[in-house]
Symmetry: C2
Subunit: 154 residues, 2 copies
């Protein structure tokens, strides 16, 4: 079963790599825990923390996001809106990756999610044919969301 990351998980992963547990790294993770399921940019995180009266330098936000992605707690995403976004990974003890794809509406820009693990067979196929050892995949679908379709019918 997929679970959420805790501060303890963060501490453990940092210690394993001789990295330090700092309040800044904690509050960046906290922002994602408080905004579960959202795709936050560095500016988003900075604003969320600022609103919560938690001061942090923007450069530190950038550094923390990259670090949290490197140690597997966050996933870096590119939706083509001019900035990198991140989402919380699932903390799955069985090491099974839990995948969802992103549905990007080309009209209103909304990003929805769709759960699916159907690409594993495709990955096996690619490895067999190309010798490419796959660690991860990202799938983006572009189209028009239900709401925009309904608006367009008027």
């Amino acid at each position: 079963m997929a679970e959420q990351f805790t501060m303890e998980d963060l501490k453990k992963r940092l210690q394993e790599r001789q990295l330090k547990m700092t309040p800044q790294r904690q509050i960046v993770l906290q922002a994602f825990l408080d905004h579960h399921g959202e795709h936050l940019s560095a500016e988003d995180v900075h604003g969320i923390l600022r609103d919560g009266k938690l001061e942090i330098g923007l450069a530190t936000v950038y550094r923390s996001l990259e670090l949290l992605a490197q140690i597997g707690i966050l996933q870096k995403l590119e939706f083509g809106d001019g900035c990198s976004r991140y989402e919380l990974n699932t903390n799955d003890p069985s090491h099974q990756r839990h995948h969802h794809h992103h549905l990007i509406c080309t009209q209103c820009g909304k990003v929805m999610e769709f759960d699916d693990d159907m690409l594993e067979s495709l990955e096996a196929d690619i490895t067999a044919k190309c010798g490419f050892r796959i660690h991860d995949h990202q799938v983006k679908f572009f189209g028009i969301c239900k709401e925009c379709q309904e608006k367009g019918e008027n």
Copy 2:
């Protein structure tokens, strides 16, 4: 059968939209025809044209790339290397999209391609469940390419 775009295709698509056929737009398309299968950035295209003694402003390259993508001749790609890249679409008269996925080596940064049209069933599934009308998809696989695996074994 998938075919290449020609200058006539470009002219036709421009005229359909009251846009003008200019030498700059032609040479940008020509750069992609001469570098079939490559993923070119704005700087790449600018350099290719400059090497061919074809002067063009960098801003015009950016504007042409965006325009060619909008009229369906190019496909915009994001590989997370800090710049947008474009590749030539296939000009398929039967309107069947011809898909390939990108395999990105996280070690050497090389981008390979893998032909596959297996996501159509997944698209139908998404449309049925979410009412999202899909126009296109992009799939990126991250992993280690064959060569980097062999180097790592030493």
